[in-house]
Amino acid sequence: MLQPARSDTLERPAPAAAAVASNGRDAAPAVLDVHDVTVAYHRKPVLWNVDLTIPEPRLVGIVGPNGAGKSTLIKAILGLVPMAGGRIRVYGKPFEKQRRLVGYVPQRESVDWDFPVSAFDAVLMGTYGELGWLRRPGRRQRQRAMECLEKVGISHLANRQIGQLSGGQQQRVFLARALAQQAQIYFMDEPMAGVDAATERVIFELLRELHTQGKTVLVVHHDLRTVPGYFDDVVLLNMRLVASGPVETTFTPENLRKTYGGRLSILEAAGEALQTRERSQ
């Protein structure tokens, strides 16, 4: 029934990626340009004048204390929460024009898992964006949905109702659905929160693979210890952008102190993680 997953079936030459190749790096627009973004709930600011530029495809971890606005930043970029001010550019154009280049993994708690769909159905939804109004998914979309389920290692559960999956398996369904979007830039909201070790590993390997395919992934992440191991860049956020850039230069005790305040345990954990990374290199 299934053909073995070929890597090229999951890839799609994106116009923006082609632009990078032909124009050279300097001329190409940044993958993501967030300028002066402010979000407020009832006049209380959640994000305040956030500026963030990701010039080229990278794996980016977004970290910060609870309530720092990490999820809100992603949602503001994706147009899911209204901005009080600011501007978003994805490959040089407003997000609304670049939706097809964007993949999204929401927080697991954001949906009702008792909803009567199978894992396969849920993943197939990733292809709806390219179909447009009234068109039903066809053989190509179904095949891709199955390949994406295989990629996250749960193709044997394709026909399960999503509520009968474990937490980690549900998270993989969301990942597979995002893969089915065939995006250039992925936004993932805490994909590793509360998942088993096997799933975390699958996600990590997926991040690496997406990176080698020239994709950009922004991940809201909660575990400081794994930041240096998982990401190239880090964004430190606490309502305002504290710092962003390569992990080596940005993920410093000084910046972490600015982000988290003086909580020692966090600083120690991060320091350990950095040392581990240095030793392994």
Partner: protein, 413 residues
């Protein structure tokens, strides 16, 4: 009951209404909007009365339009309370529903008392519904609404499914999630309103909720849920009209709700897999299977260790090994004896037959292999491990089972 032309009209009208309610009600239930439908129906009552006052006679389209307007006003107030204040949605619904309904009852009674005898509106029939008065035009109206809902759901199945499941994701893909949601709500509101004369403001929500809630027991697929829910609604409508046709002064709503309740209870109890009976049978069967396997393994291991080649095991030895009482051992032994796997050479000892020995050996092997697998492949084990010991050869790749067997041999020497 004579099946006159009128009876057929009533039957057709209420059944179609039921089917339509079942279809759009599925989305209301999945979106957790079921109670909004209830509030909308209650909030329609003052509008029906006001429209009667304005028009001055019993004019169904005008009254339904009036009901629709105040119904929507009620929903708007709920939304405003939820967003603008700290009142939670359930409290907001409760407040709006009762205030509008109270106002509606006061209005309808004052109208009854003041208007001249001939044009009395029979407004009280809108509270619990009346099926007897249905005429051909009503059926055509219902059929029209049902057809529109059916066509919309069939054409935009993909869009509605996506928005109902994950509206945020739909928004990122560029679907107008809010407007699609509004369209769903509009279909729900329309269905509620056209049903008011027959089912009444108090019980209309039941026709919206019960078919979908009952259908959910029978299926795990949205397309089947929609289909079954529409069929259930149709059946509830058809069966529920019979008492109103037979009994004088029987309002329309209550018998329909009772018919729905019967269907719901049957689904709750007897649906395969999700039904209570099926679930308790499955749980019982599973417990028994585990108990039988545990007993076979325990007797096998104790018997193999006994002196003098006698593989009988005393019940005391068994009970001190397992935290069982005598009675549960007796029950399990009865079953194993019937299956020819074990026997009782004396009142206080048990022994495996040759078939039992073979089975015990298999189980012990599976158990050891699973144990080893859980230790050696801890990171992936959670995805595969299964309490059912027979399945290791089905669940794990053959090479892996071989490898585990090799390790097992090494360990035991």
């Amino acid at each position: 009951m004579a099946f006159t032309y009128n009876t057929w009209i009533v039957l057709a009208g209420v059944s179609l209404l039921g089917a339509c309610s079942g279809l759009v009600g599925s989305f209301a239930v999945l979106r957790r909007r079921a109670l909004i439908g209830d509030a909308l129906a209650h909030a329609a009552l003052p509008g029906l009365c006001l429209a009667f006052l304005v028009v001055g006679e019993r004019n169904l389209p005008a009254m339904l339009a009036g009901g629709f307007l105040t119904g929507l006003a009620g929903v708007a107030v709920i939304a405003a309370l939820r967003h603008g204040t700290r009142i939670k949605e359930d409290a907001a619904i409760g407040v709006v529903l009762s205030v509008f309904y109270g106002a509606g009852v006061v209005l309808s009674v004052s109208i009854q008392n003041s208007v001249t005898e001939g044009s009395k509106a029979g407004l009280e029939s809108y509270i619990l519904g009346r099926t007897a008065g249905i005429v051909r035009q009503d059926v055509l109206l219902i059929a029209g609404v049902a057809a529109v809902c059916l066509v919309l759901v069939l054409a935009m199945y993909k869009e509605f499914k996506l928005v109902a499941f994950d509206s945020g994701f739909a928004g990122v893909q560029g679907w107008p999630a809010f407007r699609l949601d509004l369209l769903l709500m509009a279909m729900i509101a329309l269905t509620v309103i056209i049903g008011l004369p027959m089912v009444g403001v108090v019980l209309t929500a039941a026709l919206l909720i019960i078919p979908a809630a009952a259908a959910r027991f029978w299926t795990e697929r949205l397309e089947w849920l929609l289909f079954l829910s529409a069929v259930f609604g149709l059946a509830i409508g058809a069966v529920g009209t019979i008492p109103s046709a037979l009994l004088r002064n029987m309002p329309g709503g209550p018998p329909i709700v009772l018919a729905g309740t019967a269907l719901f209870v049957v689904s709750l109890l007897f649906a395969p897999r999700r039904g209570l009976v099926a679930r308790s049978i499955a749980a019982r069967r599973f417990r028994r299977r585990i108990a039988d396997q545990t007993a076979l393994m325990t007797i096998y291991e104790l018997g193999r260790g006994a002196q003098g080649g006698d593989d009988a095991v005393t019940t005391n030895a068994f009970l001190s090994r397992r935290a069982w009482d005598e009675r549960s051992l007796r029950v399990v032994m009865d079953r194993l004896e019937r299956r020819g796997l074990a026997e009782r050479p004396s009142t206080d000892s048990v022994r495996l037959t040759s078939a039992g020995l073979e089975r015990g050996a298999q189980l012990v092997r599976s158990y050891r292999l699973w144990e080893l697998f859980l230790v050696e492949h801890a990171e992936t084990a959670g995805n595969y491990a299964d309490l059912d010991l027979d399945t290791i050869d089905e669940k794990l790749p053959r090479e892996l089972v071989r490898e585990l067997e090799g390790r097992l041999l090494e360990e035991t020497g």
